[in-house]
């Protein structure tokens, strides 16, 4: 009773409530030295201080009252809130494709957590149907909640778990897979699934939202609808990220899981394909491939090539000027087996690191070079520095993105520690993590203020 009755309150505020015989959800009149306030006592966020009581006024606003000002609380009634997304049973239409939606967390569908004041995901098909009724027109949806983790807490075990679950669902005849995911590490998971689940006969679409679904302007519904379309009807049977193309509510882009990166901390259009074109545009009315070099949906063999392994003794070292060798040393001393360097320019680090890199190599650590410029290739022959580093046993990874290199090295080390075998895995692209050539429209970062950009900016709904 007390636990529920004082939800989220602690310390002085909790004592105050107890001493005044007040409880959460009580409809009360609070007499304070600043005057009288009427409302319902709400649970307190656990991260907020212990000096205030939260009241929901009858006009819907919340306010806080400092406990030192509170003299008396009189309870007039009790009104507990039941936050629930309306559930409706999801209708089955045999003519529509079967899509399996795996939940790992994120804000595709969510509700408010009074304890922390943050949003937590809600997920059942009934809830999703309640929140995004348009899904019924797209597919038959089967939802499986695997995890309820924020993006930053997703890692090795989740990748392996999702990969296995996907393989199983595909064998069970799903026409497409959707994975709901927090956006921060969505591109890591996309890379991991690309490596772990190969030769999929159906699309595997990873989707999230940049504005949680508790806001009217959320991108969640459109992303989810488009992801289900891409999974259920799309021709591209690969691991793809499906997120807003422009910040406007127009269409999503499908990005290959190994070339995609989150590029803005908060924009809707944060996911961009780096160094290539995205795979397709998908909207509620269209599905337009932008490339034709993709694996097509097939119906003959429902097996996937599943390799659900990962050695997490791998680190990314983001090089900066003045870096000391002890950074490398400490990784080696702590038992790390793989290092991905995000080097400057064409793939460089400073001279003082050389002995440490040599030591690491000799200790059996696998060292790979990528570029922190994100766009472009590692090219270690242009300068002497590069050649020196190559001589230390550092292997250049062409235009593989640092995060993708991290994921791939962990996946490779999960299979073997033989230097040549690891190198072979790393340098043999599975899905464009290394591309043979950079197309001339692969690097497009426009700069504001230029006359031609202004012109474009004016006419284009971004």
């Amino acid at each position: 009773m007390e636990k529920e009755g004082l939800k989220g309150y602690r310390g002085a505020a909790k004592e105050k409530l107890i001493s005044l015989k007040a409880r959460v959800w009580g409809d009360v009149v609070v007499d304070t030295s600043r005057g009288e306030f009427r409302g319902i006592i709400l649970p307190r966020s656990e991260t907020a201080d212990d000096q205030h009581i939260v009241l929901k006024l009858h006009n819907g606003y919340n306010i806080g009252l400092h406990i030192e000002t509170v003299n008396k609380i009189e309870e007039l009634g009790y009104r507990k809130a039941h936050y629930k997304i309306p559930e409706k049973s999801f209708p089955i239409d045999p003519d529509k494709p079967k899509v399996t939606l795996f939940g790992t967390g994120g804000t595709i569908a969510s509700r408010l957590d009074y304890r922390t004041g943050a949003v937590i995901p809600a997920f059942s098909p009934g809830e999703l149907y309640g929140a995004v009724p348009e899904l019924v027109d797209v597919c038959n949806l089967n939802t499986i909640k695997l995890y309820g983790e924020f993006s930053e807490n997703i890692g090795r075990e989740h990748w392996i778990g999702v990969a296995k679950a996907i393989a199983e669902a595909i064998e069970d005849g799903a026409d497409g897979i959707v994975v709901g995911h927090g956006t921060d590490t969505m591109h890591h998971t996309a890379a991991a699934l690309t490596f772990m689940v190969q030769d999929s006969p159906v699309p595997i679409i990873i989707v999230g939202s940049q504005r949680s679904s508790d806001r009217p302007s959320s991108d969640a519904a459109l992303n989810l609808i488009n992801a289900c379309r891409a999974a259920g009807y799309g021709e591209i049977a690969e691991v793809l990220v499906c997120m807003f193309g422009p910040t406007s509510d127009q269409y999503d882009l499908l990005h290959r899981g190994t070339r995609v990166r989150k590029m803005h901390s908060s924009y809707r259009s944060t996911f961009r394909t780096i160094g290539e074109r995205p795979m397709a545009m998908v909207s509620t009315s269209e599905y337009v491939p932008l490339r034709d070099d993709y694996r097509r949906r097939r119906k003959d063999n429902l097996k996937v090539k599943l390799t659900p392994v990962f050695d997490d003794r791998v680190s990314i070292v983001y090089y900066y000027p003045n870096m000391k060798p002890d950074i490398i040393d400490s990784l080696v001393d702590n038992g790390y087996k793989g290092i991905v360097i995000a080097g400057t320019g064409l793939g460089h680090v400073n001279r003082p690191l050389y002995p440490s890199l040599k030591r690491a190599y000799e200790a059996g650590v696998h060292i790979y070079m990528t570029v922190q410029t994100l766009w472009g290739y590692v090219q270690m022959f242009v300068y002497d520095t590069g050649r020196d580093i190559l001589d230390l046993g550092v292997v250049p990874l062409d235009n593989m993105l640092p995060e993708v290199a991290y994921v791939k090295l962990g996946w490779a080390l999960g299979q073997t520690h033989e230097r040549d075998e690891v190198k072979d895995i790393m340098l043999t692209p599975i899905a464009d993590e290394i591309t043979a050539r950079e197309p001339i429209d692969g690097y497009l970062v426009m700069q504001g203020g230029l006359p031609e950009v202004k012109e474009f900016f004016k006419s284009y709904k971004r």
Binding site: F37, G64, V119
Partner: protein
């Protein structure tokens, strides 16, 4: 309108929501400059709005209704006035503390109780007027009051919130907004429905405006103030008339809304006579595609032939007469239906419906009526409504017509209405309830400690009604006291009457009445600074100039701000005269004009006064001169 409709007969109640932008350097939740307006835009974005669940797990009625309209929302963006926060692509920065201080100050001026901790809420607006779909807003104070007549008008709350976009156009399914005003900090003052007549609403609006202006921290100018007027009558419901910029517009709008509610209650009674119970009311939607090609009415013909519109019919059973019943002067219940269709089905080309009760020349012709009656099986007691548009919109329209008639059984729907220029109102949307409030999970709560409130309390301007009382007690007439209380030069005025031997009543007359008169005459009073006025006060206090001469003196000073007013007094022989010198001077002037011929000898003293004043005006008190003049024989 019925003759002598008096809303007090129907226990009308009215309250106000005053939105006033406050004067800050930057916006409320980002660092964009405040008050930078432009009609230019660099780019645009497109969004849609979806309803979400409230904190207590319910959908808000307005939200659902607006979702039905399926609007594409376009925002025009100017890179100088907005950043990625306003376009909802960046989370909020910490709330602008300058704005919080101003809001606390205004809350204290309105005698509100200040909250202990500020919680930011999201107030949902699905009309697109805010790209996020919600307005960030927070309560600063509750439960205050302003004095009015012999009572107190309750101030329910004072909120600090961000302003919304400005609508540029709303055509069909596309609504376009300009974003320059978006996120400007404003305060919202909400009064209880304590006003009983249309005029009281305007009076209280003025009082609140006065309090806000006296702080000197609110913005002025077009668009800086918008007021919502809430009206209900006994048995009615709260209806909000949104965004009325001018206070003089309040009384007619309030009166008309009270009248509309009165008429809607009559309509409710009419409906219960036609159909005993709301649940027994029958209405049907007909797809009239079979007959739409044969309808001869010009509007339908045009829509069907040129635009490929689909025609829908709604049969309203047993309620004949309903649509022709008056709701507002010159408007009938059909207007209520048409408005819902316009807003919710986005059929904004008016007229957007025709009905079988319209017997005017623009109504349906007998041949059409026959067709329609047959197609919808209309009996004598039934009414038929036709609406047209794209198949989807026409269907939404037909459904909405039925919903609105069903609502009429209950009386008055809770609505937000928009003011028209003619004092009538149109439907805007269903009035939102508390369910649209949602805590802002992006912003932590902030404590308002007692030291901060004490500091603001200390610097508080006196309240206008207290100042007015003070001036009244000094013998200053009421109209001047009222104006003085809000006068930008009030503190200077107080200093003058304290430091110089000048009667407050006289000083008030100079500042309020005389200055107004001189301004009208085109005198450039803005040329005068404190030094000028100090000099002026000194001359008056030393009795070197009298009432009758000061207009001339002030005019001279304004015309020659660089010159010494002493020179002017000397040049115009304005030197104070004692009684003996005055007697001599008047005697001399009387002698010079002895020979004048008068039509009426009775007027001698008035005529003489004229000559005297011409020469010695300002040299002595007017009353004294007049007494002296009256002693002069013809």
């Amino acid at each position: 309108m019925e003759k002598k409709f008096d809303p007090t007969d129907y226990k009308m109640k009215s309250g106000l929501e005053v939105h006033h932008q406050i004067l800050t350097e930057r916006k409320l939740f980002c660092r964009c400059p405040a008050g930078l307006y432009s009609t230019e835009h660099d780019t645009e974005i497109l969004r849609h709005m979806r309803p979400t669940l409230s904190e207590l797990g319910e959908y808000d009625g307005t939200a659902l209704m607006e979702f039905k309209t399926k609007k594409e929302v376009i925002y025009l963006l100017n890179r100088e006035s907005i950043c990625t926060y306003e376009m909802d692509d960046t989370p909020p920065f910490p709330i602008n503390q300058e704005a919080v201080d101003i809001a606390i100050e205004i809350a204290l001026m309105l005698n509100c109780k200040i909250v202990g901790e500020v919680h930011i809420a999201r107030k949902q607006y699905l009309d697109g007027s805010i790209p996020a779909g919600f307005q960030r807003t927070t309560i600063i104070g509750v439960d205050g009051w302003v004095p009015y007549k012999d009572r107190k008008i309750k101030v329910i709350q004072l909120a600090l919130e961000e302003d919304a976009c400005r609508e540029v156009s709303d055509v069909g399914h596309t609504i376009t907004f300009r974003t320059d005003r978006l996120s400007m900090p404003l305060i919202e003052v909400v009064t209880a429905p304590d006003m009983k007549t249309p005029d009281e609403v305007a009076d209280v609006g003025r009082i609140i405006g006065d309090v806000l202006r006296v702080t000197g921290k609110v913005r002025r100018g077009i668009g800086s103030v918008r007021q919502d007027v809430n009206v209900s009558i006994e048995g009615g419901e709260r209806v909000e008339i949104k965004g009325v910029p001018r206070i003089p517009d309040f009384p007619p709008l309030v009166l008309n809304e009270a009248y509309r509610q009165h008429k809607l209650l009559n309509i409710r009674d009419f409906l219960t006579e036609c159909v005993a119970d709301k649940d027994d009311f029958k209405a049907e939607i007909f797809d009239l595609s079979d007959i739409q090609g044969r309808i001869r009415h010009r509007l339908i013909k045009k829509a069907v032939e040129r635009r490929g519109a689909a025609l829908k019919g709604v049969a309203l059973r047993q309620v004949k007469g309903l649509l022709a019943m008056e709701t507002q002067p010159e408007l009938t219940f059909a207007h209520e239906l048409s408005e819902r269709v316009r807003v919710i089905a986005c059929l904004d080309q008016l007229p957007n419906l025709l009905h079988t009760e319209d017997v005017s020349v623009t109504g349906l012709e007998p041949e059409d009526l026959d067709l329609i009656n047959k197609a919808m099986n209309l009996a004598d007691e039934d009414t038929g409504v036709l609406t047209w548009g794209s198949a989807e919109d026409a269907q939404t329209a037909a459904q909405e017509i039925i919903i609105r008639v069903q609502e009429a059984f209950d009386g008055i729907p809770n609505e937000t209405r928009q003011a028209r220029k003619d004092g009538l109102t149109d439907f805007e949307r269903i009035l939102p309830g508390p369910d649209r409030m949602y805590p802002d999970t992006d912003s932590p709560p902030t404590a308002l400690d007692s030291e901060r409130i004490a500091r603001i309390q200390k610097g508080l301007q006196p309240k206008p009604w207290d100042i007015e009382k003070e001036y009244l007690s000094k013998g200053i007439p009421r109209h001047q006291s009222k104006r003085l209380a809000l006068h930008p030069r009030r503190t200077y005025f107080d200093r003058i009457i304290n430091e110089y031997d000048i009667k407050p009543k006289f000083a008030a007359w100079v500042l309020i009445d005389l200055c107004k008169h001189l301004k009208r005459q085109g005198v450039l009073l803005e040329e005068l600074n404190d030094d000028h006025w100090n000099k002026f006060a000194e001359l008056v206090a030393d009795k070197r100039i009298f009432r009758e001469g000061i207009a001339t003196l002030i005019t001279y000073m304004a015309d020659h701000p660089e010159e010494d007013p002493d020179d002017f007094l000397a040049a115009h022989h304005i030197t104070p005269l004692d009684e003996a010198s005055l007697e001599t001077a008047v005697l001399k002037i009387a002698g010079e004009h002895k020979g004048i011929k008068l039509q009426d000898e009775q007027n001698w003293h008035e005529v003489l006064m004229g000559f005297v004043m011409k020469e010695i005006k300002g040299c002595a008190r007017g009353e004294l001169i007049w007494e002296t003049v009256q002693r002069q024989p013809r």
